[in-house]
């Protein structure tokens, strides 16, 4: 029971991270293409300025939660995905610093460089996160002692000895890139006005179509790579509500955007990310990290879970702390709600 609860609590943290940091990653990618004037650019960045570091906290809090609830998984996955995680760290650093520097340095050449770094790092992060999820779904060559080490690539095939990157995980990366770019575009339709908003809205349509195609492809690919992903669904048919949710939220993005209801379109995109991730988690449960070397080496809930007292105590403070955290988030977002007003965004 504790295992079930903590599995989903960690999943909630991951969903929270992707939904929140997702839109500012998307905005990071988009600001390279979408903005025409310096004011556009400032508006775009001001739309994420007060919230991006709070969004990133979800990654830290999620990582910490994973660490104490499933120490074996944390130890195994973090050391096994050593190289890509280090690259993710470097990208997070470059991205945060370039955004911050941009607020302080007003020399043209510098700004162009920082904009480029910020956009590129945002896009690569989206790709890496998608590929990371795909790596977990595909499985890794776990040894009997629970450890593994993945090279960045081998023969680009998901098999017994895959690399971080193969054709399947690359698809995962592209899905994430498109989904988060769309997510960011919808955020901009909520937060900006005038010409910028119109341009963001026009982008939604092609991105949405690409995402539909990619969702179908990634779903097929996942079933091909790991057919067991469907077992939970067939055992509990009511859970087919998750793929239905995926379709419905995609439709929501499309129609609300056409009807000029930006907030609803953005919320549909949040739901889309939620259903995609929840669907992936449900496909894995109760495995946490499948082994390509045979199911005996799988890291399962039962194998990875912390001691009972740790988890019971954790539940108390986690519930208390996350209630507070959601409270702060609601408060901050409500303070900065509505369209970005450059005059008020002093910095």
């Amino acid at each position: 029971m504790m295992g079930f609860i903590w599995f989903w609590l960690v999943a909630v943290m991951i969903v929270g991270y992707v939904v929140l940091d997702g839109f500012d990653l998307g905005v990071g990618v988009l600001h390279l293409f979408l903005v025409r004037t310096e004011d556009d650019r400032r508006t775009t960045l001001a739309s994420i300025g007060p919230v991006w570091d709070g969004n990133e906290v979800w990654l830290l809090a999620g990582g910490g939660t994973l660490y104490f609830a499933f120490p074996l998984l944390y130890a195994s996955a973090f050391s096994g995905f050593y190289l890509p995680l280090m690259i993710v760290l470097w990208l997070l650093i470059l991205r945060g610093i370039s955004l911050e520097l941009r607020n302080h340095i007003d020399v043209g050449v510098w700004r162009a460089l920082l904009d480029g770094v910020f956009g590129l790092a945002s896009g690569l992060l989206a790709i890496f996160f998608g590929a990371a999820l795909a790596n977990v779904l595909r499985g890794v060559p776990l040894q009997a002692d629970g450890y593994f080490f993945l090279p960045l690539w081998t023969n680009w095939q998901p098999g017994q000895h895959p690399g971080i990157l193969d054709w399947y995980t690359v698809i995962g990366g592209v899905v994430a890139l498109v989904a988060l770019t769309l997510h960011g575009a919808l955020w901009l339709t909520v937060k900006t006005s005038g010409d910028l908003e119109a341009r963001a809205r026009r982008l939604v349509k092609p991105l949405c179509l690409q995402l539909v195609a990619l969702t179908v492809i990634s779903l097929g690919a996942t079933i091909h790579v790991r057919p067991e992903s469907l077992d939970n669904y067939f055992n509990y048919p009511f859970t087919f509500v998750v793929p239905v949710g995926v379709v419905a939220s995609l439709a929501g993005i499309w129609f609300f955007n056409r009807a000029h209801k930006p907030l609803r379109a953005f919320l549909s995109s949040c739901l889309f990310l939620f259903f995609m991730l929840a669907g992936a988690c449900w496909g894995l449960y109760p495995t946490l990290l499948p082994a390509t070397s045979g199911a005996a080496n799988d890291i399962t809930l039962a194998r990875a879970i912390s001691g009972p007292h740790t988890l019971a105590v954790g539940l108390v403070w986690w519930a208390f702390g996350m209630t507070l955290a959601v409270g702060y988030a609601v408060f901050v977002y409500s303070r900065f709600k509505g369209k970005v007003d450059l005059a008020a965004a002093n910095h």
Partner: protein, 450 residues
């Protein structure tokens, strides 16, 4: 180079660089609350502008702290997997709590403090500064709890699979080691914050500009600097030192360079420990002082390294000795400097004492060195243990990550952090040379004078 050494260097390098930023933000957070409180009480706009200026400095440091802090949480898993696997149930807890209780709070209110001043009331703006302070100090607490458990493991039991399990949540959080170390460490942060503030004040006065702010910065910096410099030695440093002496005799013996057990042990003020001959070269010693400091009597026997099995000696003995002595020496300098500065401040002569302003300006890097040396003392003193007495450092690093892969990413971090350091310096230079906005009256009086 062995994998163990690479993984140790990896963590040591990234944590040392990281902690340059939080020590300033945790210290400044207190001082910003002071500035905002005066502003709120007197309604004097000058103090608000002063707070806004330090808010910008804080914001830059906060971002550098955040981006260099994320790797720290990852490295427990990436570089220290075997340690994390067994200890996650215990120390994963405070680490997760830091994110849940501190970072959410801190980032939310910092966003409000930096970007929202025009959207919220004055009282609310004061409150957001206060919450940033609370958040940053909670964050420090959970990190100290994590470290304290590695220094002095309490409230645990072993599970059948070898993992550690918490038996008492409150005992874990209220580990005596953690409370002492926290008090000592936070005073260290306030020392850094106040020295930086005083140095910026001194800089403006020496430059002959922004004088109306320079006086504020000097006043707040020197008063906070004096209080924290004293508190860091007594009682916090004194108590923390005694606790180390009673619980980690090998660490204290190595810190003090005490190779032989002695009744009435002296304190070495300076010298070079010679591991081969087992003595201090070129020593300057105060007789009996060490016995007195630890046990309150000059005759007490202090355990030397000769009573400790060689495989339990701290592995980097000379470095530990120097780190400790640098910390203690600088701590003494801080008290002297701030005593003189506070005296002249009280007599209203500080702003004219240019020699002292120079000393304050040039002393700003020293708290950074002292804080770093203090942490090196704590962590090198813990060696060769990763969890004191329970798990050796050699048993904790990720066995699947080779020395070569570790070196690859260590070099990557070194390059990236060199760039970050450069950018940070440029940013600080810009903000400080730009300074707080001049007040209206001040700008007018300058105009009249011209």
């Amino acid at each position: 180079m062995t994998a163990e050494l690479i993984h140790r260097l990896h963590f040591a390098f990234t944590i040392t660089f990281h902690y340059l930023f939080p020590q300033l933000t945790m210290g400044l957070a207190v001082l910003i609350v002071v500035l905002k409180s005066v502003a709120l009480k007197t309604g004097d706009e000058k103090w608000d502008r002063a707070a806004r200026f330090w808010g910008k400095i804080f914001g830059i440091n906060f971002v550098f702290g955040v981006v260099t802090g994320i790797p720290m949480e990852f490295e427990f898993g990436t570089n220290w997997a075997r340690f994390s696997r067994l200890s996650g149930g215990v120390i994963g807890q405070p680490l997760a709590m830091e994110g849940v209780f501190s970072f959410f709070l801190e980032s939310a209110f910092l966003g409000l403090f930096l970007y929202g001043e025009k959207r919220i009331s004055k009282l609310m703006h004061w409150f957001s500064a206060f919450m940033v302070f609370v958040g940053s100090w909670i964050s420090g607490f959970f990190i100290i709890v994590t470290d304290a458990w590695m220094q002095h493991p309490v409230a645990y039991t072993r599970l059948p699979n070898g993992g550690f399990e918490v038996v008492s949540f409150w005992q874990l959080l209220l580990n005596p080691w953690a409370l002492l170390q926290y008090a000592h460490n936070m005073m260290g942060a306030v020392v850094t914050g106040s020295f930086v503030m005083a140095a910026v004040g001194a800089f403006y006065l020496l430059e002959g500009r922004r004088e109306e702010y320079a006086r504020i910065f000097l006043k707040v910096g020197v008063i906070a600097g004096l209080v924290s410099s004293i508190l860091i030695i007594f009682p916090t440093g004194d108590l923390a030192g005694k606790y180390v002496a009673h619980n980690q005799p090998a660490a204290i013996a190595a810190m003090e360079g005490l190779f032989h057990s002695e009744a009435g042990a002296g304190m070495v003020l300076m010298g070079q420990p010679n591991e081969e001959t087992g003595q201090i070269d070129n020593p300057i010693v105060v007789n009996d002082l060490l016995s007195f400091l630890i046990y309150g009597t000059t005759k007490a026997e202090v355990v030397g390294l000769d009573q400790i099995p060689h495989d339990q000696w701290p592995t980097a003995l000379p470095l530990l000795f120097y780190a400790y002595h640098i910390m203690a020496g600088l701590g003494t300098w801080f008290v002297l400097l701030m005593l003189v500065s506070a005296f002249l401040l009280w007599r209203d002569r500080l702003t004219h004492a240019r020699w002292l302003l120079w000393a304050l300006l040039l002393s700003f890097p020293l708290p950074y060195i002292a804080n770093t040396a203090g942490w090196m003392t704590a962590e090198l003193g813990r060696q060769p243990w990763l969890i004191y007495g329970l798990m050796r450092t050699s048993e904790g690093f990720s066995s699947t990550v080779s020395a070569s892969n570790g070196l690859f990413t260590l070099l990557g971090f070194m390059g990236l952090y060199a760039l970050l350091g450069l950018l940070f310096t440029v940013l600080m230079y810009r903000e400080i040379s730009h300074g707080p906005e001049p007040t209206k009256e001040f700008a007018r009086s300058k105009e009249v004078a011209a």
